[in-house]
């Protein structure tokens, strides 16, 4: 990782309940994704499946500051976003297995899930396409005169798509309440940032549009939360968009079929050992005395049950009825 990180307090500045909540959510994503990988290997999940393992602190830290009515939208590495914004793990897993009980009734799959209730707007398969849509969600909030914010996530790969800059221009021009969260996991599929981007610091890409931005340690959930809080306030106060570049890392390949030969085992191992977001929070909780080992173990056990129930639901939910092929193409006029 390069560039200057935002200085953050290593001592937990959150309540015990909050800390344990972040721990729980990150662990849920980690275990859920490990299970997804297993089910993919068993042929229960097909097609494209992009795991979020390693990046958990980003979505958990951002969601920690989301208020009711705030919207979120991302690309196709989306399982974590759905779980943390409150979508039922069983419904997510059943969508992965293409079953009737999935959030899209089995018709969307890993990359295409939505929840109006939780204000989760997908789940988009075209790199970068979610970004103008996210700006549109925030345009609607501004139009309706409420104080909601849209968290629009995209990766370092999407940062080179032209529509991002079309969106930056309009978002700044119209002072839209949108936080652009760049999840910089260093690799756009198999191409490292250095090989794809003319500049290393993606948060500076907003400068031409007068959008403030900063780089954040995306492996530190508390740092993420602190900066997301400031960014959301900036939007809610009517100052327009804000960019947060979250420096993060994915442990697994781009998708299930990616052998990840573009980076060394040592590189991955080093991040896992030294910068793992869950271990870092775990250590901080224990060192600060916010909770004891047994409390964390109880959470581990609880998550195991949640994931295993999700798996059970996803296995037992029936495949969609053949008639579903022809439904949901148009709403009745």
């Amino acid at each position: 990782m390069s560039g200057k990180m935002t200085e953050t307090n290593v001592i937990p500045d959150a309540s015990k309940a909050e800390l344990l909540g972040y721990y729980r959510d990150m662990l849920l994503v980690r275990r859920f994704e490990e299970k997804s990988g297993q089910l993919y290997g068993m042929g229960l999940i097909g097609g494209f499946c992009h795991l979020y393992i390693g990046q958990e602190a980003v979505v958990v830290g951002v969601e920690a500051v989301a208020q009711e009515g705030d919207k979120r939208i991302t690309a196709y590495r989306d399982h974590g976003h759905m779980l943390v914004c409150g979508m039922d793990p069983g419904g997510v897993m059943a969508e992965l297995t293409g079953r009737e009980g999935g959030f899209s009734k089995g018709k969307g799959g890993s990359m295409h899930m939505f929840s109006k209730d939780r204000h989760f707007y997908g789940g988009h398969g075209i790199v970068g396409a979610q970004v103008p849509i996210g700006a549109g969600l925030s345009f609607a909030d501004r139009y309706l005169g409420n104080s909601c914010v849209t968290f629009t996530y995209f990766g370092d790969g999407a940062a080179n798509q032209g529509q991002i800059y079309e969106t930056f221009n309009m978002a700044s021009l119209w002072k839209l309440p949108v936080v652009f969260v760049i999840e910089n996991n260093q690799y756009a599929m198999g191409t490292s940032l250095a090989r794809a981007s003319s500049t290393a610091q993606l948060f500076t890409r907003g400068r031409a549009f007068d959008i403030p931005g900063e780089m954040v340690d995306g492996m530190d959930v508390l740092a993420v939360k602190a900066r997301a809080s400031a960014a959301a306030k900036h939007c809610r106060d009517g100052h327009g968009p804000y960019i947060l570049e979250m420096m993060t890392y994915r442990y697994r390949g781009h998708s299930m079929s990616d052998p990840a030969k573009y980076r060394s085992r040592e590189e991955v191992q080093r991040v896992r050992t030294e910068r793992d977001p869950i271990n870092m929070l775990r250590d901080a909780i224990l060192q600060s005395g916010a909770a004891v080992e047994a409390e964390l173990k109880a959470i581990d056990s609880e998550i195991k049950i949640v994931v295993s129930e999700a798996e059970k639901f996803a296995r037992e939910s029936p495949e969609p009825d053949a008639d579903a092929l022809w439904t949901d193409i148009y709403l009745p006029s």
């Binding site: 939208i73 396409a129 700006a135 139009y143 079309e166 709403l331 006029s333």
Partner: protein, 451 residues
């Protein structure tokens, strides 16, 4: 040296103009570059300059005169220059012969059909309106009715539309609801989709549908497919609209017909009206529709006038064709500006003793193929007409449907009259050759009727 000042063509599609204001008097001397008049075109009010030094000796048309054909003398001029020279710039397009201009159908048949289609009261009044005005009125009425409806696009607000379609909307609804966007089709199409996901009802105007190709990923992947991908959760009530197809002499990149492209996409609805009444009624239905709708307009048709019923809430259902002309010898199927050529062909055919039934599809998705089949079962022959390219065309689809559902009724193969399979050329003669023509339609109809 005396000469005539002719009404200039000041836009690619201008056929007639209005002298809004004379800025010179008879006997006044002018120098090259002086503005002598304001001319209202189909798009804007333009200033018209003298290109020579001399004296305006006589004004031949009164201020405020409308519908003056391009190349009509509007003033007499005595030039200071000894060499004979025309003061008027050479016209941008050759003057059209009267028979080529606006072969509109008779008002009587329109009345009859409108009444049948929309169950209007028998005593309903009609008023003549251009397609441009009808589209503007449709947007304004729906914006008055529903505060979640708004218009966005390039030059829609302060400029009042590149083709003057959104005249008056900014003044009535304000900048929050009539939103000028940067030139950023990909971006604002995606942004519009986001507002629709969040419950607003955007009308996204493309300055021309040719530019929608920059944005087609959002129209297809984001707007059309998300309802399905979300298992029915995420509706997208959005209208994408703008002029489509060839205008006049604007070259290959500005002359494409997207009818077949958008009609291909499940999840989209696609309408391509011909008349002003249908443009109004279909656009109002499109704005109310909870699904994404693409409305393909036509720059040449914007200035054409039709009778539009004067009723409070005139809606035309999406997915229903209109029979413009009854006939028993051959079914001609078209839509959009293709109808103009088709109706002209039907008149010529009638003089040859061939009575054509003319169907305006109006909607391309869903398509009212039942009306086509029903007609073909009576006429036993079918010719399709469109401006788009021949491969994978709307006509191909109709031919296939007719073959599958009415094979035993056919007395001849279904013929497709289309634009030629070439990028649109610029040269006037080549462009004319590239477009579908009345003669080709007449020939196709004669061929299938063996006459």
């Amino acid at each position: 040296m005396a000469s005539l000042i002719l009404l200039p063509a000041l836009s690619p599609t201008m056929e007639t103009g209005k002298v809004s204001k004379w800025l010179v008097k008879e006997g006044q001397t002018v120098t090259s570059g002086d503005i002598i008049a304001e001319i209202e075109t189909d798009k804007a009010v333009m200033e018209f300059e003298a290109i020579d030094d001399g004296t305006i000796t006589k004004l031949l048309v009164k201020e405020g005169s409308r519908e003056i054909a391009v190349n009509t003398p509007i003033a007499e001029f005595e030039s200071d220059v000894a060499v004979p020279a025309s003061v008027s710039p050479p016209p941008a397009v050759p003057a059209k012969k009267p028979d080529e201009v606006s072969r509109g159908p008779a008002a009587a048949s329109m009345l009859q059909v409108a009444a049948r289609d929309t169950e209007l009261p028998s005593d309903v009044e009609f008023r003549s309106q251009t397609v441009r005005e009808a589209i503007r009125d449709a947007m304004a009425e729906e914006m008055r009715r529903d505060s979640s409806v708004f218009l966005m696009g390039e030059e829609v607000a302060e400029y009042e539309g590149a083709y003057k379609v959104s005249q008056g909307l900014l003044a009535e609804f304000g900048a929050e609801r009539v939103v000028d966007t940067p030139i950023t089709e990909h971006g604002f199409a995606g942004l519009g989709v986001g507002t629709a996901f969040a419950g607003l009802k955007p009308i996204v105007e493309f300055m021309t549908m040719n530019f929608s190709m920059q944005a087609i990923d959002h129209i297809v992947n984001s707007a059309a497919k998300t309802l399905y991908m979300s298992g029915g959760q995420m509706g997208c009530p959005i209208v994408f609209r703008g002029p489509n197809g060839a205008a006049a002499r604007v070259g290959a990149q500005h002359s494409q017909d997207y009818a077949a492209w958008y009609a291909h996409i499940p999840g989209l609805k696609v309408v391509q009206p011909f008349s002003a009444a249908d443009a109004k009624g279909l656009l109002k239905s499109a704005i109310r529709d909870p699904n994404p709708v693409v409305m393909l307009e036509n720059e040449i048709m914007y200035g054409h006038s039709f009778d539009v019923p004067v009723v409070d809430d005139f809606l035309v259902p999406i997915g229903k064709a209109r029979i413009w002309r009854n006939g028993s010898d051959v079914t001609l199927v078209s839509f959009g500006i293709g109808m103009k050529h088709t109706l002209a062909a039907a008149d010529e055919l009638s003089q040859l003793g061939i009575e054509a039934e003319v169907i305006d599809l109006r909607s391309l998705r869903p398509m009212d193929t039942a009306s086509v089949i029903e007609s073909v079962k009576r006429t036993n022959r079918c010719v399709t007409v469109e401006e788009g390219w021949p491969v994978g065309s709307i006509g191909n689809h109709i031919g296939s449907v007719v073959m599958q559902r009415a094979f035993d009724w056919l007395d001849a193969p279904v013929l497709n009259c289309t634009g030629k399979d070439v990028p649109m050329p610029y040269a006037a003669n080549l462009e004319k050759l590239a477009l579908v023509s009345v003669d080709e339609i007449v020939a196709a109809a004669r061929s299938v009727t063996y006459r």
